[in-house]
Symmetry: D3
Subunit: 61 residues, 6 copies
């Protein structure tokens, strides 16, 4: 049943996405016995111009 949303600033490679999905799914199975087939992991790659930290856009830092 878990639904996991991973938001990162900027782009990830396909390989990185594969490892993130695999790693989170395995972690939730081992730690909380959540079946992989019921675990959704959705990755949002947010444009650096759309992510602010410290009052500034990351694209301006």
């Amino acid at each position: 049943m878990p639904y996991v949303n991973v938001k990162v600033a900027g782009k990830l490679t396909k390989e990185q996405k594969e490892k993130i999905v695999e790693g989170i799914t395995k972690l939730l199975e081992e730690v909380a016995n959540k079946p992989p087939q019921s675990t959704y992991v959705v990755i949002d790659e947010v444009d650096r111009e759309n992510w602010g930290k410290g009052g500034k856009l990351l694209s301006d830092l």
Copy 2:
């Protein structure tokens, strides 16, 4: 007042989006008396390379 977020893997046609928005809004009005004018429905079409299930990216399945 309802805010509904619908995340699907892959693309929807405009007609499908129209039916989803109309259907959810009508459902919330009938079931919970939520006024259509206050009901927001936001649809996110997620790239299959960004959605994992069973530890794999959908684009790899």
Copy 3:
């Protein structure tokens, strides 16, 4: 694969939740051929003191 998040201000009865989950799942199956067993619907009942509209908390209106 759909993940749907329904946020409403205030409480719903169990029966209302059942109808909302059933209705949204059926709608996505009919409109976009999404299999019910892969459709997650998560309902958030938000306290009226935590929902603002027009610059005011709903609990103050």
Copy 4:
């Protein structure tokens, strides 16, 4: 620690995003003593064809 997600229908200019990020970060610092360096603000510009109100897509209104 705050994480703020701002969803708007349609596009914003870079300048508008800068003002929104700056304004929200300052507000949370003044009102709730949240340190700017720990405050994330993520802006989602949603296509008007993906945002429904009153049972209609904004792009159809």
Copy 5:
């Protein structure tokens, strides 16, 4: 049309929530001409045991 979700670790007072809702709504009106009556602000007060930073739960720091 904006929908803003503010997640903070720990509790806020009612007065703080009022100021956050008012401030964000005014900001979006001034910066992006978003009508207050269409602006939703939802505040989530997250338990410190459910928020992790640097690999630790805030409640453990």
Copy 6:
């Protein structure tokens, strides 16, 4: 900069939350070089009466 939201149906123990936060933070550091101090992980424990799958509430299954 990552913000990760983990939604599970039902309750987790504190120890499970610690392992989930630690594991996800370490994974994002190793896979995508994301600094732990900038990685937020927020866990939502959703009541089984508020999570639907296959058109049914989990609490009814």
